[in-house]
């Protein structure tokens, strides 16, 4: 294998996704107005092909492109997750796009571009490469947030996301520049070697690290940089919100882990407190604010903030089991949130009118399967046994306690109880109350049904048989040795 080909192997998923994205763009330019649904199909095929290309990447697990990209179990894990998310988002959004009369071509191309950016983030071994990935995924996300061009909420969402997002990425870039200024490298493994060789982190370097944390904290919607989340999530088209809550969050956490553990692992006593404080703030802000929400999208937006806090607890454990727990939880959370948002998409009705919690009244009798799936998702987010969310929380508890952080564990426990109130509120509305106005939900279409079914199976399956996934997560966590 020539070096160029070997390098291409390790970026195979990214290349595949981009290739299909370009194919869709060109196809969109030539296809007649009526034939655009072909593009949606190409999009799904492209995402599946990218997922398959992850196995290609697994053949070349090493540094590539002179150390800019690193393919290891960790990056493969996240790339698989990202492309699974992409496939599911695509399946769940076809009917929505048709219903809202939105163009199909650009949507799928942008999804693929966003996914490729996230994949770069997951495998970047160098700060500027990471920045490029961050920007690729962000710019596609800004456009997607404003995809309902005629809806003012969607515009608001896109603009807020764009302004605050560019601000945050600037922070990231500035931080990277400072690290470079202090050490003369942006490669994370070189940074690590410097620490190993006995170099102490100077103030400039720590400042750079802090600014990188700010930039990524924004992407991951972590307190105190979470303010944009509810507005952006509420205004964006619901399937796009599903993506935001799962994909970029996963990628941002991947990058956070890689930078903190590989690059600044030796300085962990310093960033530990930042993560600790942020975790506590994130959990409490997310859960307490979610209590008073009446809009389902906003409620889940705050819940996604809270879950970012749980993930930070796992990160604060600073151990391999902590990272494994983080990865496991990330998968479970992403799939379950995706399922929940898909149901919200499905029930939204044209123009996304049906978003109030009270609008879900009587769903339990009108569409039992949908209500059942939604209940599973909510219970999994809540972390009740049998569902995967419970084991996810369990692993986090375990890692926190093993790291001698009982305080964080107890606060996580308290937050789970707060979460019970608002998750069960939706369950209550679906099953216990009758709507004031009679309504019949639209029948479940094949795409939406498939997403609901798959994510519900995942939510239960990973809850009862976590073995394979947890093994994969554990192996991935060992990439940082």
């Amino acid at each position: 294998m020539t070096p160029a080909l070997a390098d291409a192997y390790s970026l195979a998923p990214v290349i595949t996704a981009c290739g299909f994205g370009i194919l869709i763009i060109v196809g969109d330019a030539f296809l007649p107005r009526g034939g655009k649904s072909l593009l949606a199909r190409i999009g799904v095929v492209g995402a599946l092909a990218s997922l398959a290309a992850v196995t290609l990447a697994s053949r070349h697990t090493d540094d590539a492109y002179s150390g800019l990209i690193r393919t290891d179990a960790f990056s493969l894990f996240l790339e698989s997750l990202i492309f699974v998310i992409t496939v599911l988002v695509m399946l769940g959004s076809y009917d929505y796009l048709v219903r809202e009369g939105l163009p199909l071509g650009e949507y799928h191309a942008l999804l693929l571009f966003a996914a490729s950016g996230m994949a770069v983030m997951a495998s970047a071994n160098e700060l500027l490469t990471a920045f490029v990935g961050l920007e690729i995924s962000s710019i596609a996300s800004y456009v997607l947030a404003g995809y309902r061009r005629t809806a003012s909420k969607s515009n608001e969402s896109a603009l807020k996301y764009f302004l605050l997002g560019s601000f945050a990425t600037a922070f990231f870039l500035y931080g990277a520049a400072m690290v470079y200024g202090a050490t003369g490298t942006t490669r994370l493994d070189v940074l690590r070697e410097m620490f190993v060789a006995g170099r102490a982190p100077g103030p400039l370097m720590l400042l750079g690290c802090a600014m990188i944390l700010v930039g990524l904290g924004f992407k991951a919607a972590v307190a105190p940089f979470q303010v944009w989340t509810p507005d952006v999530y509420e205004g964006a088209p619901t399937p796009v919100t599903a993506l935001f809550a799962s994909g970029p969050k996963a990628a941002a956490f991947a990058l956070l882990v890689r930078i903190l553990v590989t690059g600044f692992g030796a300085a962990n006593a310093t960033w530990f407190w930042a993560i600790w404080v942020s975790a506590v703030l994130t959990m409490f802000i997310g859960n307490l604010a979610a209590l008073t929400q009446n809009n389902v999208k906003r409620m889940l937006a705050y819940s996604s903030i809270a879950h970012a806090g749980y993930l930070l607890v796992a990160l604060a454990a600073r151990s391999e089991i902590g990272i494994a727990a983080l990865l496991y939880y990330l998968v479970v959370y992403a799939l379950v949130t995706l399922g929940a948002f898909t149901i919200i998409t499905h029930l939204g009705e044209p123009g996304e009118r049906r978003l109030e919690i009270d609008a879900y009244a009587g769903l339990g009798t009108r569409q039992p399967f949908t209500a059942f799936c939604m209940t599973i998702f909510l219970l999994s987010l809540l972390g009740l046994p049998i569902t995967a969310g419970f084991l996810g929380k369990f692993y986090i508890f375990d890692s926190a306690l093993k790291a001698q952080l009982p305080g964080l564990a107890v606060m996580l426990a308290m937050n789970s109880v707060i979460g019970a109130y608002y998750y069960l509120r939706l369950v209550r509305v679906m099953y216990f109350t009758e709507p004031e106005q009679e309504w019949t939900p639209e029948p479940v279409t094949a795409g939406v049904g498939a997403v609901m079914f798959l994510t519900a199976v995942a939510a239960l399956g990973f809850g009862l048989f976590p073995g394979p996934l947890m093994t994969f997560a554990t192996i991935s966590a060992q990439s940082f040795r």
């Binding site: 009798t365 046994p385 508890f397 009982p406 107890v410 069960l424």
Partner: protein
């Protein structure tokens, strides 16, 4: 065998899913059949039980998950056997009493009821802490729906209150369980117990007290011990009859069972240290429950508060740390399960006929319904602890145990017995 008993109800419940939505008669029959067969099977357990042997019997253990190390480990001893018998005995009754009174979403109702039975039996048999917690939490969901969908006017409030109270307690227990796991590397109850006894793992005093507190809180909410009892009257009053029967008959016992099975053997020192305080709370609960019960106009509420009082006795019996007290506590658990279950059954029957739970509306009941009212009196007297009836034995044993330890405790607790005569007398018009 234990697996069969545990999961048979759930299997029956899933069978219900295959039946048509409208075929109510068939659904009821399948539910009744399932619960009855489960009861008969659990009677077989009684035959297989060797009362002279110590330790767990009919143990089943299979590896389930490798990371974390979780085993499917079930087993029974005397206490769990009898509590399971109580459960399986009450369940057909609960099905029967919902025969006529549940008309909406019949299929879901019986599915929930049977799922609840599986979770409850699982709690009593599980010997793996993780498995135990799984069943413990799984029980919440069916109960939440039972109260929330088929309950009375303030059902939603009661359902949420029930879940939040229980979850708040149990999530701390989860932390404690995981803490134990990270200390010992296993969830296996007998193993952890032997590790602790042999001194392989040593708990510092503070840590043991924290762990004990976390477990205790979860169970105290469930028992419910004063002052954590406030969910109980709401849940009891709003639940449908079958829900109340199960709630009073079995769910409250799970708290006491947890104390006996986990708190005392795992953390003996902390238990002894906290015992005076807990006994104090139990006695307050006994007297307070009885006093409040006396002034209740609502019959279901009266029984609910009397449960607080009676379960106070159970906790008292457990925490006097002698054989008589413990025997009394176990005996009292069974009695209370039967008699309060019975009282709620009667209340449900009366409600179906009179559509009220107000005691003053029950006056002169003996003339139109002689049979019902005589059973009513019988159960009431048993609940009050009249000699010759079952309630007497338990309370007597507990009081004896308490007297051996501290005469004053017995004296205070005995006040509760007298007061219970008053409130039970109120109903026997």
């Amino acid at each position: 065998m234990l697996t069969l008993v545990t999961f048979l109800p759930l299997a029956g419940g899933l069978l219900l899913l295959l039946l048509g939505r409208e075929s109510h008669a068939a659904i009821r029959r399948v539910a009744l059949l399932t619960s009855t067969v489960t009861f008969l099977l659990s009677l077989l357990l009684l035959r297989g039980f060797d009362a002279t042997a110590s330790g767990y019997q009919l143990v089943e253990r299979r590896p389930w998950m490798s990371n974390p190390q979780i085993q499917y480990h079930m087993g029974m001893d005397g206490i769990s056997l009898f509590l399971v018998l109580l459960t399986t005995f009450l369940m057909p009754l609960a099905v029967l009493c919902s025969w006529e009174s549940i008309h909406t979403r019949v299929k879901e109702f019986f599915l929930m009821l049977l799922a609840l039975e599986t979770a409850m039996i699982g709690v009593f048999f599980a010997l793996d802490l993780f498995l135990f917690f799984l069943f413990w939490e799984a029980m919440l969901i069916p109960m939440y729906f039972l109260i929330g969908i088929w309950g009375h006017e303030r059902r939603i409030y009661a359902a949420i209150k029930f879940v939040l109270y229980t979850m708040a307690g149990s999530i701390l227990m989860l932390v404690a369980i995981i803490w134990l796991y990270s200390l010992s590397g296993t969830f296996d109850l007998p193993r952890i117990q032997s590790l602790l006894q042999e001194g392989v793992i040593r708990l510092p005093v503070r840590q043991e007290m924290l762990l004990f507190g976390a477990f205790f809180l979860a169970f105290a909410v469930k028992v419910p011990l004063f002052p954590l009892h406030t969910w109980l009257p709401d849940a009891h009053v709003e639940a449908p009859t079958a829900g109340s029967v199960i709630l009073a008959g079995v769910l409250l016992k799970m708290g006491a069972y947890g104390l006996v099975r986990f708190c005392l053997p795992l953390f003996p020192d902390a238990s002894h240290k906290f015992a005076p305080w807990i006994v104090g709370l139990a006695i307050v609960g006994i007297i307070y429950g009885a006093l409040v019960a006396m002034v209740q106009p609502d019959y279901k509420k009266l029984v609910a508060y009397s449960s607080v009082s009676h379960m106070g006795f159970v906790v008292l019996g457990i925490f006097v740390f002698n054989q008589v007290g413990m025997q009394g506590a176990v005996y009292q658990m069974l009695n209370h399960g039967v008699s309060s279950g019975g009282l709620f059954l009667v209340a449900g029957m009366l409600y179906d006929r009179r559509h009220t739970h107000m005691i003053k509306e029950f006056g002169g009941l003996a003339t139109p319904m002689p049979v019902l009212s005589s059973f009513f009196i019988l159960i009431t007297l048993s609940s009050l602890g009249l000699p010759l009836l079952n309630g007497f034995v338990g309370e007597f044993l507990i009081l004896t145990g308490a007297f051996e330890r501290r005469p004053a405790w017995a004296a205070y607790a005995a006040t509760g017995v007298i007061l219970s005569a008053v409130y039970c007398g109120v109903t026997s018009v």
